[in-house]
Amino acid sequence: MSILINEMTQVLIQGITGNSGQRFIRNMSDYHTRPVAGVTPGKFGKTLDGIPVYDTVKEAVYHHPVIDFSSINVPPRFVRSAAFEAIDAGIKRLFIYAERVPIQDSLEIMSYAEKNSVQVIGPNSPGIISPGKGRIGGIGGSVDYLNQIFKPGIAGVVSRSGGMTTMVSWLLSESGIGQSTALGCGGDSIIGSPAKKLYQDFLADDETKVVVLFCEVGTNYEEDFARYLKENGMNKPVVAFIAGRFTLSGFRYGHAGAMVEGDVGTWQSKFDSLRDAGVLVAEDLKDIAILTRKVV
């Protein structure tokens, strides 16, 4: 098993005629996942690499009733409308690639998604991969390269950073620990599936035996996850690395979410609450695999 995607996953690409949309067609179809349709308003009737393009999501869903995931590849300012369109058309999983989506737009998207039992990955996610089964997005790049990094296995990997999803998976693979599903949950300050949500998904997956998190300073998702663990118990072990101990408050280090504001989102607060909840917190990169080995 795996979470979110498997060998059968069928994907719609919103914004399929754009740069990232076209790139994703290849990224996904090279790696077991089927993009079955695309949407770009005004481009009905076109085909790209054999994939039909529709004007609206409703139309795409009518012709392809089994769409499991919509990959939203539109610029930040159009993300809100695209996400609402996919939710209204009945698609139950969304992947948002764009970064720096306006916060109030993300807030509305996530609130609407929650009400409609839709799961959102992102914004600002590089993708989701279940080694050997499929991927959404371009995570891992060329198949040749990603096969060096990702191996099938027992670790669920969740990262706030795209690049670190790959790095952490590689460190695990090198010490013989493969991944059930590895994903970038998104680097924006509001994301659809933070650690708490994904942990619950991993709990329901038999294959996953340990969850490995790469966290960054900023926001309070980690503190919230720690509270959840304390209240509900840690039914699968969690290993975490928290980046940004030496970042300065008020500065933006690349990711929109990675900013300490006042006393919210500090490294210390995340470290203390995760450790207090029983999470094994690595203080060096190389400790991530060492600690993971210990618990599996």
């Binding site: 930040p76 300012r77 720096r100 989506v101 306006p102 916060i103 109030q104 737009d105 807030l107 509305e108 996530m110 609130s111 609407y112 929650e114 371009g138 891992g140 790049g141 060329s142 390269y145 990603l146 990094i149 990262s159 706030r160 950073s161 795209g162 690049g163 670190m164 790959t166 790095m167 590689w170 680097g187 300050s189 509001i190 790469f214 960054e216 300073v217 926001t219 309070n220 998702y221 919230d224 690395f241 980046a243 940004g244 101990r245 030496f246 970042t247 300065l248 408050s249 008020g250 500065f251 933006r252 280090y253 690349g254 990711h255 929109a256 990675a258 203080e283 060096d284 990169l285 190389k286």
Partner: protein, 398 residues
């Protein structure tokens, strides 16, 4: 983006909220043309907390007192910031003061309305000791807000009669502004009630969402915008912005950290870059800068970023480092070779290439004469230890 008090006040005034009459002074003779009535209130315009506590707010009873305040603070340092302007306002005597705030709640996916009937300075510590002083209402961002709802809120906070109507309208206007201007936070502390039952906002902290700036036209309301960080940009940061703008391929995020830092740092990916900063610090090395150059940059862009960093005056080593990246590293290698050949730096250059096209990248560097070149086989920690050993060896020779 955090607004200065005067900007935040203009913004909420634009939404219909009453603020004291005032003027902004940004030069020493700035008060000369104003018809002043005393007492009046003078406030330094800085972004840090607790201005009142450190003497940045004064009620002045005479022109002399006001002049003294101006001389004392204008263009001077105040809690680490330079005071570029001073707000001069009518003095409003009041009977009671409250705390009103709106903020995004990412966990509950709503907008929080937060109130304390007794506000004023020191509210943070008061409510920390007694969280019951705060009343919080969660509002669904997809709903339209109605006046009847703010009436409910005003009643629940403890207002009645004409004040209930006024406070309700203020909350309503505050929320409209919050949505209209893509705010992350609007905090009015205090909202005051005067003897004859008028309601004023005496201070305002407003934070806007930079990622929504494409749909905002704020300059006509609040003047030129401020920067989204606690200090002004350095010259190198400005140059990094130019490097990023001039070439659409890839992205450069640059921050100057410590002018006495040992290491000029160029790394790939923002999550990885802050991780490397941490590990450098863990091993007793100070990065002079943060620079993430990722997203498939061209060799010219990598070269420009490397030139910028090699030009930091006090660094003792330059480190280019990648985690496991999918962008082709041979292109970064070509960029590094261009910059290093041109600058011919006297400090040692360390490079760790891990990721796509790593072998080719390493070959390019070695044939260009680079010595300290590492691969994915060398852990990030080990590479940093090598840098450290190199610096210590250098020190012992000197």
């Amino acid at each position: 983006m955090r607004l200065f008090e005067y900007q935040g006040k203009k913004l909420i005034q634009n939404c219909g909220i009453c603020i004291p009459h005032g003027s902004l002074i940004n030069r020493s003779g700035g008060m000369d043309d104003l018809a002043l009535t005393f007492p009046l209130v003078m406030k330094v315009q800085t972004l840090g907390p607790s201005r009142a506590k450190y003497g940045g707010v004064r009620t002045c009873h005479s022109l002399q007192e006001a002049q003294d305040f101006l001389t004392e603070h204008l263009d001077k340092e105040f809690c680490g910031e330079t005071v570029k302007s001073i707000l001069i306002e009518e003095w409003i005597p009041f009977d009671s003061e409250c705390y009103f705030a709106l903020r995004i709640n990412p966990l509950l996916l709503c907008i929080d309305f937060i109130f304390a009937r007794n506000g004023g300075s020191g509210i943070e510590s008061k409510t920390r000791n007694d969280p019951g002083l705060l009343k919080i209402f969660h509002f669904d961002p997809r709903k339209q807000l109605f006046l009847y709802e703010t009436n409910d809120i005003a009643k629940e906070i403890g207002f009645s009669g004409d004040l209930l109507v006024q406070v309700s309208q203020l909350i309503f206007d505050m929320y409209s502004g919050f949505r209209k201007y893509d705010a992350k936070l609007i905090e009015i502390n205090p909202v005051v009630i005067t003897e004859n039952n008028r309601v004023y906002a005496l201070d305002a902290i407003v934070q806007l969402d930079d990622d929504a700036s494409f749909r905002q036209e704020l300059e006509p309301i609040i003047g030129p915008s401020t920067e989204d960080k606690p200090r002004a940009s350095t010259e190198r940061e400005e140059r990094a912005l130019m490097i990023d703008k001039e070439d659409y391929r890839g992205a450069v995020h640059y921050i100057d950290l410590d002018e006495n830092g040992d290491i000029g740092l160029l790394s790939v990916g923002s999550g990885f870059s802050i991780t490397v900063m941490d590990i450098l610090n863990n091993y007793g090395l100070q990065p002079a800068n943060f620079c993430d150059c990722s997203g498939n940059p061209s060799k010219e862009k990598v070269a420009n970023a490397a030139r910028l960093i090699l030009g930091i005056p006090n660094i003792k080593a330059f480190l280019f480092i990648s985690g496991m990246v999918s962008q082709p590293l041979d292109i970064s290698a070509e960029g590094l070779v261009i910059a290093v050949k041109e600058m011919n730096p006297s400090i040692p250059i360390y490079v760790r290439f891990a990721g796509n096209q790593e072998e080719e990248a390493i070959r390019i560097l070695k044939s260009a004469g680079f010595i300290n070149v590492f691969s994915r086989r060398d852990s990030v920690e080990d590479v940093i230890l090598s840098v450290k050993a190199g610096l210590e060896k250098e020190k012992s020779i000197v």
